[in-house]
Amino acid sequence: MKHYQLEISQFVDNELPADELKKLFVHLSDCEECRGILSDFMGMKKGSKAFYDDIDVDLKPAIKLPAEIVPRKVKNTYKTLFYFSAAASIILGLLFLIKLSNVDNLETQYSSLQLKYNELRIEHSSSKKDDIINNSSSKNISSNDEKVSSEKKHHDFKKSDYVSTKNLSSKSLKENYSKFSGKSQQITVVQVTKNDFLTPQIIGN
């Protein structure tokens, strides 16, 4: 026969569902053992309550406790956090925009410089062709030193990534290249690397 000890415990606690209550009563009418358990549990309930009821001690607080009530300040932790994160995101957004505009400027400068560089290269190559034609026709230029120097300078020019046009007009550059094609000793090549094309360095004599 199945006993209902757990259900009895629940019944003592007034926590037994109504549908199980009926089953328990039916069982209790037939089971003496469960009736005994119910009786014991009820006795223990009464006894335990009496035990704790009877405990009486003098409990004085160790310190004097404040009797006044002060309304608690509402903590604005979440509000503060929200404003802080909003401000941070605005700052970050601004920084990103500034960075983006800088990149655009640099790209514009870079592309304009590239265009000028190509122009100059074309001019340079055309002037060199003219030189060769002139030289071959006149047969006056036979000095190997000059050729080597010219090639060397040309090579230097090729090595340079960009030519600064910030402080030099195309006219002055033209003059420089005409000088370069004529007199290798007085060539002035403006050589600017990729990293410092905004601050041109004049090398050579």
């Binding site: 415990s9 704790y52 001690v57 409990l59 607080p61 406790l65 404040p66 309304p71 608690r72």
Partner: protein, 167 residues
């Protein structure tokens, strides 16, 4: 003196009033776990000190009493875990003289309860004395409803065994 700030949406209770209202229950609950008069008294002081210190963490999603009982429970079980803590003999002055053992079971119930493991004893206290529901007990003890139901049943079985001398 630092003002202890207390606030409730429903009612405002000063710490002094809170102490007066709930310290006996905190003591009894602590006693059910620690089974020692002096230790239980210390627990009461400690509970209110902790409450005052951590008042801001009280979210008011439960009653003051429940919150204090949770603090008491944490304190008591930590105290038991402490290696230095040793169970001393129960002092009889805990019980007032008017304690009337007219019911046979009551005579030995004191000893039986003290023999009961603390986790069972606290459940007996919360149910029989405080009259909390399973749900409230689950909230305080951090157990599931099913677990509360089963453990209370086991506590009663264990107590019954002790009373009958089977243990």
């Amino acid at each position: 003196m630092n003002k202890i700030i207390l606030h409730d949406k429903k009612e405002n209770i000063s710490l002094a009033e809170l102490y007066e209202r709930y310290s006996p229950d905190i003591f009894k609950y602590s006693f059910s776990i620690l089974k020692n008069n002096e230790e239980a008294k210390d627990a009461v002081q400690e509970v209110f000190v902790r409450y005052a210190k951590n008042e801001s963490s009280f979210k008011q999603d439960c009653s003051y009493k429940t919150w204090l009982l949770i603090i008491a429970r944490n304190y008591c079980f930590n105290r038991i875990k402490n290696k230095n803590f040793r169970n001393e003999e129960i002092e009889d002055d805990v019980f007032i003289e008017s304690y009337s053992p007219d019911y046979d079971m009551q005579i030995s119930l004191k000893d039986a309860l003290m023999k009961l493991p603390e986790e069972y004893n606290e459940l007996i206290y919360l149910k029989e004395y405080e009259g909390f529901s399973y749900k409230e007990i689950a909230e305080i003890t951090n157990l599931s409803l099913e677990n509360v139901k089963i453990k209370l049943f086991r506590a009663r079985q264990e107590l019954r065994k002790i009373l009958k001398g089977d243990n």
